[in-house]
Amino acid sequence: MTEPHLPEDPLARAEAALRAVPVPPGPTDALIAQTVAAAEAATPAPPLVFMRRRRTTMHAFVQLAAALLVMAGGFFYFGGNGPGSPALAFAEIAEKLRAAQTLAYRMQMELPGAAKPVTVRFLFKDPGHVRAEAAPGTITIMDQAQHKTVILDSTNKTALLIDEKKAGQPATPEDAVVQMVERLRKLGNTKGESLGKKQIGNIEAQGFRMKDRDMVFQVWADPATRLPVQIESSLRLQNKEVTVRLTDFELDPRLEDTLFQVAVPAGYQVRKTEFPGARPEEEVVRLLRFYAAGSGGTFPARLDDWAALDQQFKNKKWTGTTDPELIAWVQTIIRLVQFTQKTKYGYKTEGVKLGDANKIVFWYKPADAAQYRVVYGDLRVGDVDAEQLPK
């Protein structure tokens, strides 16, 4: 037998071959022009006039709120509870998600009252690093292990550092961003029902439908790559059905560690805030007090009437998307969205005005409590028996 003719060190020869690859002339003028245009478009412009800045900030508020809502796990519950017998392809998708060390996708959501859909790009990296990029120029970076978050407002060059440990409010498993990723990865444990095929772009995607608790999900995957193409769900917000769509999935993309540094870039003004742990009734009192101050003493008809609340916010002036008060309100809304979606509660404000000390406007039963926690019209908090609740 003769030895095949092979190089002594294939790697060295391959390196030399790759270095010697002929490179055609480039880049073309057209490519340079396109790239310059894209780079300029991606570079946030400084605010020109107050009105322009305010509009931007308001839009950024919606973006930021959406990002934080999703990051808080308020919208997605992918985890399955019982044993399932999913279709093979569906299990494969879940397995790929489970195996991924990094994950990226784009979330699009049409919020009631928002002129344009909210789009947020999410990047995840094990263990527990999350980055949310919401136009225009608002980036939120979370380190779950360190319980730290930084929100960067590139328009106003400000950064808000949030230390949840110092605030005495460590992230709970329910709130953890990593839970959302974990739920995505546990899709395979959820029963899947075939939806057939649908054309998404160039892909004839295969669909699966599953229900978890009170939410329905549609997962569309590429049969060739076994990767998710689109995940869709909906939720009730402001009494309307809101569709949330996740697209542009990338599994194991290269994500540099620098993307996830909870650090303040040079030249940014630093703000700090602490969020005191708040019970639901405290958040309700805060919200009702704010609303009544702007409405002449009345309360919103529903606790989850975010559109009504938004009207009251129109007179607020924020100093950018890292304004601590703005973030505190976003936190309040997140907590209340989660509360109203997960907890049985009562709310009755018809005929009640701020200061009505004997009328109960809000009630719920805390876990393991014998009595109901209530909020009165004068915004006092108390505990009552079931028979004392409004009919």
Binding site: E3, R13, A17, R19, V23, A42, P253
Partner: protein, 171 residues
């Protein structure tokens, strides 16, 4: 900061050469080119850029390796990379074919390396960066660069040997 027009015009050829050498496909190279500068926009937003060529070449390498990985996830029917169709009159056809195959094998093996190793390997072995330059750009110690490079080479050698099906005479 210089205008984006100045930055792209001045450093564009370097980025183009870096990405094309790895992806060897015109459309892919164009996409990587744009992605590199968009990543540079993000980097410049985070901190002032001290060394544009170094930053851009590092980002270009990372984007190109990403593109190679995407190809692995979305495999296309085997095709000749464009450089194999380019003028190869300077070398013999046999050597040109061998070189093209070796280059293919190397780029295929690169996608299996962890990101940092792939980047260190490309910057040192293909772009000629020193350990110190890599250490500065990737925020590593010089020793760590050496370790990453050693691991990368070891894995690449194993993969290439397997791919080339090196068989030895039984003793």
């Amino acid at each position: 900061m210089e205008s984006w027009h100045e930055i792209v015009s001045r450093h564009g050829p370097l980025v183009w050469r870096t990405v094309y050498r790895l992806v060897r496909h015109h459309a892919d190279a164009e996409e990587c080119f744009q992605e590199t500068f968009l990543a540079a926009v993000a980097a410049a937003r985070r901190a002032p850029v001290q060394n544009w060529p170094a930053l851009l070449q590092r980002l270009a390498t990372a984007r190109a390796v990403d593109r190679l990985r995407q190809r692995l996830r979305h495999p296309e029917p085997p095709h000749l990379t464009e450089d194999s169709l380019l003028d190869r009159r300077a070398v013999s056809p046999v050597q040109a074919a061998e070189d093209a195959e070796l280059a293919d094998r190397l780029t295929q093996a690169l996608v299996y390396l962890p990101g940092m190793q792939a980047e260190v390997f490309c910057l040192h072995c293909l772009e000629g960066w020193s350990y110190r330059d890599i250490a500065v750009q990737l925020d590593l110690s010089v020793d760590a660069v050496g370790v990453q490079l050693y691991r990368a080479r070891k894995q690449l050698q194993e993969r290439m040997a397997a791919a080339l099906d090196v068989r030895k005479e039984p003793s």
